[in-house]
Symmetry: C2
Amino acid sequence: MIRLKVKEMDISTGGPLVVYLNVKDAEKLDLHHSERINVFNGKRFETAIVDIAESARVVPSGSIGLCREVKESIKAKKGALVGIRLAGKPVSIDYIKKKLDGFRLSKKEIEQVVWDIVHNKLTPVELTYFVAACYSRHMTMRETAYLTKAMTAHGDILKINRHPIMDKHCVGGVAGNRTTPIIVPIVAAAGLIMPKTSSRSITSPAGTADTMEVLTNVSIPLKKMAKIIMKTNACMIWGGSLNLAPADDLIIKVEKPLMIDAKSQLLASVMAKKASVSATHILVDIPFGKGSKVPSIENAKILKRDFECIAKELKMNVKVIMTDGRQPIGNGIGPALEARDVLYVLRNDKRAPKDLRRKGIMLAGTLLEMGGKAKPGKGAKLAEEILESGAAYKKMVEIITAQGLKHKNPDKIPLGKETYHYKSPKSGRVCRISNECMSKVARIAGAPADNGAGIYLYHHVGDKVKKGEKLFTIYSHNKTELGFAVDSLKNIDGFVVR
Amino acid sequence: MIRLKVKEMDISTGGPLVVYLNVKDAEKLDLHHSERINVFNGKRFETAIVDIAESARVVPSGSIGLCREVKESIKAKKGALVGIRLAGKPVSIDYIKKKLDGFRLSKKEIEQVVWDIVHNKLTPVELTYFVAACYSRHMTMRETAYLTKAMTAHGDILKINRHPIMDKHCVGGVAGNRTTPIIVPIVAAAGLIMPKTSSRSITSPAGTADTMEVLTNVSIPLKKMAKIIMKTNACMIWGGSLNLAPADDLIIKVEKPLMIDAKSQLLASVMAKKASVSATHILVDIPFGKGSKVPSIENAKILKRDFECIAKELKMNVKVIMTDGRQPIGNGIGPALEARDVLYVLRNDKRAPKDLRRKGIMLAGTLLEMGGKAKPGKGAKLAEEILESGAAYKKMVEIITAQGLKHKNPDKIPLGKETYHYKSPKSGRVCRISNECMSKVARIAGAPADNGAGIYLYHHVGDKVKKGEKLFTIYSHNKTELGFAVDSLKNIDGFVVR
């Protein structure tokens, strides 16, 4: 076995297990970029991927650079001698090739691939082949179910000894539309368990986690999450602070560059996150229509059936509803503005956006029926009663206090100090408000990184407006960014009055 | 525009244009791993891919680490302030997605993808999607021709004002089989031009470039290559020392991890390298049969037709022959042992392996017919005459002298000092010699990195042997490696006597 001296690289790859060899050593050992070696430190060893350092200043000949992940795994100290030996490829490489060749994968094969993903045994190139294979060759529902189960199993699982456990998911694409923080307190106030995890925004002006972070702490470890649920029946936290189905995040990372959305992976991703919190009853909201992610009712129906099929394979109780996704829902777009809307709804404030309130009640009502708290057709009424009685707001305060209260008074939430009022160029009727354009402007104004940035809508489609009347206000903390956002209005027709 | 201070990273990526931002700056700027930014230094700018440094020791907040490639491109000095701005994705990302969705690509689209590959505008993940798409969705012959032309165009081209220009290619998989250094001098001695480039070994014990490097210098720039050809009619150099169809090497790099061999890319790769040296007449050798790369005559016929189709699309004169690939050809396996065989053949030494001599004459004869130096059916006879007259050897010495002579006397080529003789366990007839096993043993013995390592065969399939008679000798410079090679014989039945 060849021995090399450990050089500390001070590089954290954030996952992949990489070692760096000097180009001369690599040639002598017949090792190439992306090949694997075993690195031994006494009895400890790790399989790592080889990267080549051209310059002796980076890694001199006779040394081996270890990324922090490898260094910690084998507990190697700077200057120590470690042994190296050529290692084979992970067996899942064969399965990825098999899928790329168009064959179905077995349960065991999919489990192995997911294990290798989670344990950082694959290079980004190898993982990309897996994603490309699943996308171009498609996966059957059976394969998708195996993928879901494997993604769930190779991660943490929240165990709650209660039944049923409620959850919801929205496929997204509608600006505003912050229904989760309305639904969860209603459902929890009715006595149902709802351990909700949400994501941060990737391409939108706010994810539910971004909005909730205005009101409370959303980075909460699994143990504390369980305690909060035992105390309040629910929680609303950022899924990224937990280790639920971690394979999913690694897959999404390589999907991003091509904006790939393999249906099998979308389904597996959603269902694995739900299975990881032991959810038994799941409501899926598919907003559809021009200007949303799902452009037509036909697309929505196909997606609905897919969710129903995967639910059947996984023996989970899933109800899918299709909703109108053609314009933003609620008035605020951006974390703070959405959080304010949510509190207005929960406090029965007259400034509450009616469309958001209505949709929240409808979704919460469906969950109450699914969870056996209301008879079929009676859920919405019960949800409205819980909301109007103040019980939902009380529950919200309980939950956000348990997580770490920041704001419960909507009028004290700070918004961007710089504002621009967009006024109607003519009298008429609002005929279109584009989700995409409004989201883009809100992002340019600074959302979600600047949580007080965004857009506040005074009108929705169908409203009559007069010339010069305010249609919406852009908020930003920063004059320059506000300027960019205002500039961007010139090239888009996101808010049309006719 | 945001300004950051240049930190020299002393990292050469070997291509990809990467910059490193501190994790805090990246968050503030809403920039993620693998996103692209424009980096401005005065009027110069470059588009680079963002990597995130977790530690301030690697890149402190307010600084930007530049890999050497970016630093040189914008001529930025350490400590200087450079501006950054979010950049869009290369347009070829859309075309890669299109191919992955199963659509055909146009000439322009393929050209753009190849341009972006050659100019390092794609991340390894994005390039992998392209390779996966071409593999799983297939390319038409028309698309393959566009790919070939684009790969040729975006690289250096050897221009020789002569016609015809001969070339050959072997699909490989047969141990020994070093016909190129026999064919080239015969063809060149007959007055034909043959600017031969070859590869080094990747998974075999020797590539033609490795074998030629025992006799002469093979790393030669394009200008000198042209001079050598003008002087001697030919050359035999390492393709890797030139910039011919560089996209091909970048594609092969991401194919390796999955051992993908998309037919379209195999064809484009071969033909682009030939087009880059302005070849007009190309002979393709497809060894087939059990134990070779092409397992059956059916597979060989399909591959033959593919080469003929792409040749037609490209308007190149290609002749494909299928040869017996079931056992090694020649006696030596490994750079020095093969080089010795080649010189034995060229010098009409009685130790010359008959099978190698025969195959060399046959292939050279075909090229003489294709190039108009012999009438149909008379090429082999002419080739044999040129060989026997000593003209081929004389031409070989001319060529290797022009490139930088190392050895012309086969008996002075140093071989590994450590040897092991494998003797026949019984009397009988040789019924099988496995290409794969012999190659593996030769590699374990040290070939090609140790160029004197390898195997020398005393017999071929069909020979009668006596118990205790030497079947082959393993050579190595190193006792330990020889030991490993001998050990490896236990588990394989690479040489079978019955």
